[in-house]
């Protein structure tokens, strides 16, 4: 019989196969909402943390259960606490939820294009998030606030389906208390005790204070929300070139091999997920591209 090399997971030299991952273990997990949780991961071998840029994502592999693209939701200045916020919707994300502290999982990445924070310097920045779309925007907010003086007005517009779906509640409360950040939150459907805005997130655009001509906008959420938000921002006078959107497609490889993430000529894994709006505007207007 052939002897197949068996390598302790996490101690092998970096594989040359871009589809192979590094070994991590679950450090902590906490519930954000009824269906969404945040996990913090640590490299199994205690190796140096891998740096990432806000907007990038990792592929997370759960033993035998599947692999899914999940954005990094933590602070880019603290990459050792590798943080992901996950909505449990199907088999792989639910098996992530079942992982216990100390258990191993595979991580490869970070992949994808980042939010253009450097290019936005000197501008007002409007961050628009829908639902779980706040997760990939949170690293951008951390970074914007780290370098607060580099930017003009900073606005966060956040919409969820109902008040129980609001993520990062404590953090949002802290942010709302800041004078150098305008945070507006809306829900599609109000429930008892909700006294805030009701309506889709694009309706908040007219309520926020920023100078459209000097504004960079970052949008992530369901595709329909992205479309309407970008149109509303354009209408208010934001230059389309300064609008950035993060798109979602089925992904199997994240490295341009599997073809699943195609959006017209674009590979969302390789060319995105963050795109400048003019690059995708035409395609977003066509159904089922």
């Amino acid at each position: 019989m052939e002897t197949i090399p068996e390598k302790p997971f996490g101690q092998e030299p970096m594989s040359t196969d871009p589809r192979h991952f590094r070994a991590y273990r679950m450090k902590r997990r906490w519930q954000e909402t009824h269906d969404t949780f945040t996990i913090e991961l640590a490299a199994m071998d205690g190796s140096e943390p891998v740096n990432f840029a806000p907007g990038q994502f990792n592929m997370l592999y759960v033993f035998g259960q599947g692999e899914v693209p999940i954005s990094i939701s933590g602070d880019p200045r603290q990459p050792s606490a590798l943080t992901h916020t996950v909505r449990a919707v199907g088999s792989a994300t639910k098996s992530l939820r079942r992982l216990k502290a100390g258990e191993g999982l595979g991580v490869r990445g970070p992949y994808g294009s980042p939010w253009p924070l450097e290019g936005a310097r000197g501008n007002d920045v409007v961050v628009v998030a829908g639902g779980i779309g706040l997760a990939p925007l949170r690293p951008a907010l951390y970074e914007l606030l780290h370098r607060r003086a580099d930017y003009g007005q900073i606005v966060l517009l956040y919409g969820t389906r109902s008040p129980t779906d609001i993520l990062y509640r404590k953090e949002l409360a802290r942010w709302r208390a800041r004078f150098d950040l305008e945070t507006l939150i809306t829900v599609d459907r109000a429930t008892d005790g909700w006294h805030g805005h009701v309506g889709v997130v694009s309706t908040l655009i007219s309520k926020a204070s920023f100078t459209p001509a000097n504004t960079t906008a970052l949008i992530c959420g369901p595709e329909i929300m992205i479309r309407f938000t970008a149109l509303a921002l354009e209408k208010r006078g934001v230059t389309p070139e300064n609008i950035y959107v993060s798109l979602e497609r089925n992904m199997k490889c994240a490295v341009g091999f599997c073809g699943h993430c195609q959006f017209g000529p674009l590979f969302v894994c390789r060319d995105g997920p963050v795109f400048s709006y003019p690059r995708v505007k035409g395609l977003l207007a066509v159904r089922e591209v």
Partner: protein, 379 residues
């Protein structure tokens, strides 16, 4: 390029030389009423005296009146099944304590020698090379196979009923991507192969195979054969401005018409030599202690392909056919600086309802809203 001649009677020596050097020969052979690529050992395994009649939705083996070895065009298989296997285990994993270990796959056994690859297929291979080994990331399994595989090309002695390599500038004469290229010449009582050497590896192999320099008449005879093939293509596709046209044709009414005929069966993508899409399946055994990851061919015609939470992005057949054709002839160019179609005609032949990519393009052009009258696809 210097031209040589190998007599038909000496061709066996080429095969045995390759086998002697440790190559696994993959070539055309008769199986299940078609000419497919499989493991072969000798010249006698070739489909001697057979050809393939092809039309939209039709493939039929036929007897030739001679004993040609390569007197057919293309079967349902392409070399992608060797370079990018339909099903491939990427790794196994075993549980250990709270975590697991990864067991890598052993490297492949013998290097392969492809026997009888056609020009369009060489182009298809170099297109897949761009996708899987010439971008920012390299697929190591694919790259290993490609680097160690020897390629013996055959120039087509006839055009198939669904071929349009001339339109796609990918044939019928092999110009790149081979170690050795043969043109089979049957001339009265003579049967020989005009031979061209593409690489030093190919030249080295020929040291062990009887050959001589080609005479001018032999070169001319081989050239006439390829020229005749080029002049008798079964199909043509006018590619002028095609990319720009397709980018403007997302809302063309003809997509609904194709959708009414397309079964979304994915045959066209399986037989296509350039289609590279794959999926992965993660499985565990019953004990849950052993896991494997498999890579499998996938198709943009399935519902799962574009599934994201809440539903498929492309739920209609119309959107899937549009994705496929637009990818082949337009978006591929922006992705990889080449079209994703080499004009092999397989998708036409093997479509159960005979949908014809060349004809669909003509119809799309005709039905484009606002098009100028009288353009039948050609200027």
């Amino acid at each position: 390029m210097k031209s040589l001649v190998i007599e038909r009677t000496d061709l066996e020596k080429l095969f045995s030389t390759l086998v002697g050097r440790g190559y696994r020969l993959i070539g055309p052979t008769l199986r299940e009423a078609a000419i497919v690529y499989g493991e072969i050992k000798t010249v006698n395994d070739l489909p001697i005296g057979w050809t393939d009649g092809q039309a939209a939705g039709q493939y039929r083996l036929q007897r030739r009146g001679d004993a040609a070895l390569f007197g057919y065009n293309l079967g349902p298989h392409s070399w992608k099944k060797e370079n990018l296997p339909p099903s491939l285990r990427l790794f196994s994993a075993e549980r250990r304590d709270q975590s697991f270990v990864i067991i890598e796959e052993p490297a492949d056994e013998l290097p392969m020698a492809f026997i009888g690859a056609r020009s369009c297929e060489l182009h298809a291979i170099s297109i897949q090379d761009r996708v899987l080994m010439q971008g920012p990331f390299v697929d190591p399994t694919y790259a290993r196979r490609r680097n160690q595989t020897l390629v013996i090309a055959v120039n087509c002695g006839q055009a198939g009923g669904t071929c349009f390599c001339v339109s796609m500038k990918s044939g019928p004469q092999a110009t790149q991507g081979f170690d050795i290229a043969l043109t089979e010449v049957l001339d009265g009582h003579r049967h020989y192969f005009l031979t061209e050497v593409g690489t030093t590896r190919g030249a080295e192999i020929l040291n062990d195979v009887p050959h001589r320099a080609a005479r001018d008449v032999e070169k001319a005879a081989a050239q006439r054969i390829v020229d005749r093939t080029a002049a008798t293509m079964g199909r043509k596709l006018y590619t002028g401005g095609l990319k720009e046209f397709l980018y403007s044709a997302y809302e063309n009414p003809h997509w609904d018409d194709v959708a009414a005929r397309c079964l979304s069966c994915a045959n066209c993508t399986m037989v296509c030599p350039t289609c590279f899409c794959t999926t992965v399946e993660d499985v565990t055994d019953l004990s849950g202690a052993h896991a494997e990851r498999w890579q499998k061919w996938d198709s943009c015609f399935t519902a799962d392909f574009s599934y994201i939470h809440g539903g498929s992005v492309r739920s209609s057949t119309k959107s899937r056919y549009r994705q496929w054709l637009t990818h082949k002839l337009a978006t591929w160019m922006d992705q990889f600086s080449t079209p994703g179609c080499v004009g092999c005609g397989r998708c036409i032949t093997w479509c159960p309802t005979g949908i014809d990519i060349t004809q669909e393009v003509v119809s799309l052009r005709e039905r484009q809203p606002g098009r100028k009258e009288q353009s039948d696809g050609e200027p």
